[in-house]
Amino acid sequence: MIARLVDRLMWRGPRPGIAPIVAGAALLCLVAAAFLSPWIAPWPYDQQMLAEADRAPSLAHWFGTDEFGRDVLSRVLFGARTSLSVALVSISVSCSLGMAIGAICGYVGGPVDRWVMAAIDMTWCFPEILLALLLVAILGPGSTSTVLAIAIAYLAQFTRLTRSQIRALKRETFVEASLCFGAGPAHILLRRLLPNAVAPVVVVAMLTTGDAILLEATLGFFGMGAQPPTPSWGGMMSSGSELLFEAPWVILWPGAAIAASVIAINLFGDGVLVALDVKKRRRTH
């Protein structure tokens, strides 16, 4: 799959266009910024300079300072760590758990499938944000419970997608052929079904990562995410909202960071969707 992606991005086969590549580069920069924040941030994220509170962007503080005189640029960079890692970890957990449950339900079928899916479907009774808020309320605020809450909020979609993929693939002739050559259920599931089901799940996972960043920011905005002084984009927007007119840059920059990362992830995800489409590949001879 990785090889195919590289193949695609090297302009062989259907071209995903320039937007995903730019978006991918932007994403890479964001991730690099998050990783390198301790070294590239001009100030520590928690250093308060009360004398310089609510300053507009200047040469010393490119993005200005907040109500405690903390450097907004440094906080946005450190916030990228929290926001991106929470989103990535929660989607990874959600995606792998969803794939495992969905694959087993889709392959086994019968009462197991019915009951497990009924339980999973119940999470769809609530909007993601409500479910996540409920879970954080139960687990208590903090990064770990945010991760868990987001993972559970998106579990149903990964489970359902994988399950439907597996159910459709199960009837394919190559699966029957594999059975006819003496393959057991583990071989069928892990070697035949899952590799063929993974591409759309990966694309959905990428697109959902954008949603997860938004959800994490929302939880942060409600004060349910990472706890102060750890900066998160949602938390920064929440405190910035109180100074909306006096110091608009405090809310503007984290908001722009959220928007930029969500747009970049979505555009990149669209590109991957095009690139991974196996069936559109041409014959080479």
Binding site: E172, A177, L179, F181, G182, P195, R283
Partner: protein, 321 residues
């Protein structure tokens, strides 16, 4: 080698197969012929033990392979048999290969599973096998994905997959339907050679009487879940006793035929949910008499190794189709 005796299978209350008898010996090619819907593929699924997968079960009769009863075999032992001793060549080479996996490793699967070879040994064996399938440049094709191959090459790969575990009995379920005529002939030629060379038994499922005449030693003609006539190819073609067999033979185009004389069989195979009483062929049979409506014909031997299930078997002998 394989003996199927009075096989009946059921899907809830329906019985797509009701009394199927035939046998295949080592080194022999048996053609299982019939229209679509007559139960040929169902028979193959039964022998492979894959009926539970599509919701069916054996309700009567027996399937014996080298003296071992398969209808009561447990799944773990059946799995060793599949691919290891009995292999199925599936119908459509376009969909029988995993699109995500290179074709070579797909062939390796059988050898690794049944012969216990490691990856390197399996690869060497696979490339040899592919060369034997007359796949040009086998070592390079090994690393290609299925979508990069033509239909004929893919069918050769599917056959190689079936042979990878060194089976003794091959079941080929319409191996040539998805291919053009020239490739068809090559594939059938290849199958016949393999059977002769390795002393295999082959059950060739097809609806093409011409193919049967070309490749098979014996024929079993199937109609609506029953074997209506079976015997050596020469006997069946020279002296077909069942009206259905005659009709099938009449469907083969021949050079020099006058325009518009190629015969068809009026009507269609009955649905298993609504089977006619008596002989299941009587609504379409040109020679049906009143008794055909009420009596189920039993298989009678009209010659050595030539059985017919038709009430008129004796009387119909020798008539032109």
């Amino acid at each position: 080698m394989l003996t199927v005796d009075d096989l009946e299978i059921g899907f809830s209350t329906l019985h797509p197969l009701a009394g199927v008898d035939f046998s295949v010996a080592r080194g022999e090619i048996l053609g299982l012929v019939g229209e679509s819907g007559s139960g040929k593929s169902m028979t193959a699924m039964s022998v492979m033990g894959l009926l539970p997968l599509i919701g069916g079960r054996v309700t009567r009769g027996s399937i014996r392979f080298e003296g071992e009863e398969l209808t009561t075999l447990d799944e773990a032992r059946y799995r060793r048999l599949r691919g290891g001793r009995i292999a199925l060549i599936t119908q459509n080479p376009m969909t029988s290969l995993d699109p995500m996996v290179r074709v070579g490793p797909q062939i390796d699967q059988g050898a690794r599973l049944h012969l216990g070879l490691d990856a390197r040994a399996a690869r060497i064996r696979t490339v040899e096998l592919m060369a034997r399938m007359r796949i040009p440049d086998a070592a390079r094709v090994y690393d290609l994905h299925p979508h990069q191959l033509s239909g004929g090459l893919r069918q050769r790969i599917v056959i190689a997959m079936a042979l990878a575990g060194d089976p003794e009995l091959l079941i080929a379920d319409e191996p040539t339907t998805a291919l053009d005529v020239i490739v068809q002939a090559q594939i059938v030629q290849l199958l016949v050679e393999l059977v002769r060379e390795r002393d295999l038994a082959l059950m060739l499922i097809t609806h093409d009487m011409g193919l049967v005449a070309q490749a098979c030693d014996r024929v079993a003609v199937m109609y609506s879940g029953r074997i209506v006539e079976s015997g050596p190819v020469a006997a069946i073609f020279e002296d077909p006793r069942h009206p259905y067999t005659r009709a099938l033979i009449g469907c083969i185009p021949r050079p020099g035929m006058a325009e518009g004389t190629l015969a068809g069989i009026p009507g269609t195979v009955p649905s298993i949910a609504d089977l006619p009483s008596g002989c299941r062929f009587h609504p379409r049979c040109p020679m049906a008499v009143a008794a055909c409506r009420d009596r189920v014909p039993q298989t009678v031997a009209v010659a050595a190794d030539h059985g017919v299930a038709c009430l008129l078997a004796g009387a119909a002998s020798g008539d032109a189709p």
